[in-house]
């Protein structure tokens, strides 16, 4: 009985591009205005890099390049894991997600906005690290390598967004930050982001391929010619597979949560 009414009431469709853009803009502002999130996310990777990659590593060019690449990966992890893991948990639990599901938000805008936010944060962190690396860290790269590593860092948010989304679709708001920290810091260590895996016990190196951060670090290192010689494609496949599995699980969990 209502088909005709459905047609004539909303003759023109809303402009989805505007909705996507505003959703992303306000997601970025929301996070930027949350100091408990923005400060550690933006400051920790440059601080750690300054301490371990620059101050404690005078003169070793190999280590300087290795650490610049791996700290770029470390900088990618926080905005994606915290933005999704903690953000989704809070918005799911407090009802904001429900309100948006009721409102005619364009499909996908919620996730795309959060991904855009994470990618922008990752890019900002990368730029800060790159400036430090070039001026203080004794890193010298071709222009193409700087840009390509920046692209790897920006696109690298994807698997961590998926992992964060999986956490956020299940964890409660108060427990999510602890849970994310429990994954974030150990994974960085176990993936060789803070020191090369060949300096760590053998079994850590052997299980490292389980962690997405390991594969992203291998890609980052290959980009600046410091890789272990392995082909990039299996790493890309591992990251995409990990992303797909996390998204699939998160979808199931989110469909159940209201």
């Amino acid at each position: 009985m209502d088909a005709s009414i459905a047609m004539n009431d909303n003759g023109s469709a809303p402009n989805p591009t505007l909705a996507y853009a505003l959703e992303s803009k306000y997601e970025f502002l929301r996070v930027l205005r949350t100091p408990a999130f923005a400060f550690p996310t933006l400051l920790f990777p440059p601080m750690f890099y300054l301490l371990f990659g620059v101050l404690l590593n005078r003169g070793n060019a190999n280590a300087a390049h290795y650490l610049f690449a791996t700290y770029s990966v470390f900088g990618v992890m926080a905005p994606s894991l915290f933005g999704f893991g903690v953000g989704v948990a809070i918005e799911r639990e407090r009802g904001w997600l429900s309100l948006k599901r009721v409102a005619p938000m364009p499909p996908g805008a919620y996730l795309l906005a959060k991904m855009a936010m994470a990618a922008l944060f990752a890019l900002i962190i990368y730029i800060v690290l790159a400036i430090m690396a070039a001026t203080l860290g004794g890193v010298s790269l071709a222009l193409g390598q700087w840009l390509l590593l920046g692209a790897v860092a920006t696109c690298g948010v994807l698997p961590f967004c998926a992992l964060g989304l999986m956490i956020g679709s299940r964890a409660n708001a108060s427990g999510a930050p602890a849970l994310v920290n429990l994954i974030y810091l150990p994974m960085a260590f176990l993936s060789g982001l803070w020191m090369p895996l060949n300096l760590l016990p053998d079994f850590i190196a052997r299980v490292a391929p389980l962690w997405p951060a390991y594969h992203l670090a291998q890609l980052a290192l290959a980009t600046i010619g410091r890789g272990d010689g392995s082909a990039p494609l299996p790493h890309v496949a591992a990251l995409l597979g990990f992303t797909a599995i996390c998204f699939a699980i998160a979808r199931r969990w989110l469909a159940r949560a209201t």
């Binding site: 209502d2 809303p14 502002l29 929301r30 809070i90 918005e91 009802g95 309100l99 009721v102 005619p104």
Partner: protein, 298 residues
């Protein structure tokens, strides 16, 4: 524009179970264009579950939920509704203006920002972050988000909780205005005067079942009880033995009698006490009717 009577949202024999708890038990509900349907009931009666079924946030285990003739949840259905949920978790760090701008972008022909904030009474709060607002102001901002897309049906889950009297009046006025423009409204409330002031239809829920439904007058009439107050020398013990009397209490020098047959009791009172004074007979308000109906259902 007068298409009043057309059903916009409907539950038919809808049931919903959470584990062992039957939250809704074969509920029927009809929401028509240009009408306010109030859902009354104590906490846990199933009001929010009923709204969640109509919004498509939940699916019924049995029976059906329809919105604009389709099952709820589609993008077209959502673009024609507005909702104020009980908990909305609006991010604290965005300003009122940013929130309204964001929600407007979801609709093809939204109200202007000025209209939204004027209708919701938050025009002076545009630059303020949501987290710095009082509870009542936050509620009004949620109302602004609910109406910004010119909805044809508005779901309001306890909309005036935490509002002061002025703000509540403003919201009531806006709701009446929207209804006059043929918007349908589903309203849950604890404030019975809110249902009396706004609702065309009232459905009383208790333990997941509709125990009474109809106009405010019909629901009130479901409870035949009336309250008699008077000053009398008769003792409450004596009155309490009359078969028609449900209860008697003394309140200072006054006696208050609750009965289904007020005329009989008044006749008897005047017969036994010729000096009886200050006689008052009052029909139960919705509040009393509601307490009585839900007690019967329990």
């Amino acid at each position: 524009m007068n298409q009043s009577g057309e059903t916009i949202a409907q539950l038919q024999g809808a049931s919903k179970r959470y584990g062992d708890v039957l939250a809704l038990d074969q509920v029927d509900l009809d929401v028509r264009r240009g009408e306010v349907q109030a859902l009354l009931g104590p906490n846990g009666a199933g009001k929010t579950t009923a709204i969640s079924l109509l919004l498509g946030l939940l699916r019924p285990d049995a029976g059906s939920a329809m919105l604009f003739g389709q099952s709820p949840g589609s993008l077209t259905a959502r673009s024609r509704l507005g909702a104020m949920l009980q908990t909305s978790g609006v991010p604290d760090t965005l300003t009122v203006g940013e929130l309204v701008t964001l929600f407007r972008s979801y609709y093809a022909q939204p109200r202007t920002v000025a209209d939204c904030v004027a209708l919701a009474g938050v025009g002076d709060l545009l630059r303020i972050r949501y987290g710095r607002l009082s509870g009542g102001q936050q509620r009004r901002v949620q109302f602004a988000l609910a109406i910004c897309g010119r909805p044809q049906i508005l779901f309001l889950d306890e909309p005036t909780t935490g509002l002061d009297l002025d703000a509540r009046e403003t919201m009531w006025k806006t709701i009446r205005q929207l209804v006059a423009e043929s918007c349908a409204v589903v309203l849950t409330t604890h404030y019975l005067e809110e249902a009396e002031a706004l609702a065309d239809h009232v459905s009383v829920l208790a333990r997941g079942r509709i125990v009474a439904a109809g106009s405010v007058q019909q629901v009130r009439a479901r409870v035949a009880q009336r309250r008699i107050r008077c000053v009398s020398r008769l003792s409450e013990e004596a009155i309490g033995t009359w078969p028609e009397v449900r209860s008697v209490v003394r309140d200072g020098e006054r006696i208050e009698i609750v009965t289904d047959l007020a005329e009989t009791v008044v006749r008897q009172l005047l017969f036994e006490d010729s000096e009886l004074s200050e006689l008052e007979v009052r029909r139960a308000g919705l509040a009393e009717a509601f307490v009585e109906i839900t007690r019967e259902a329990a």
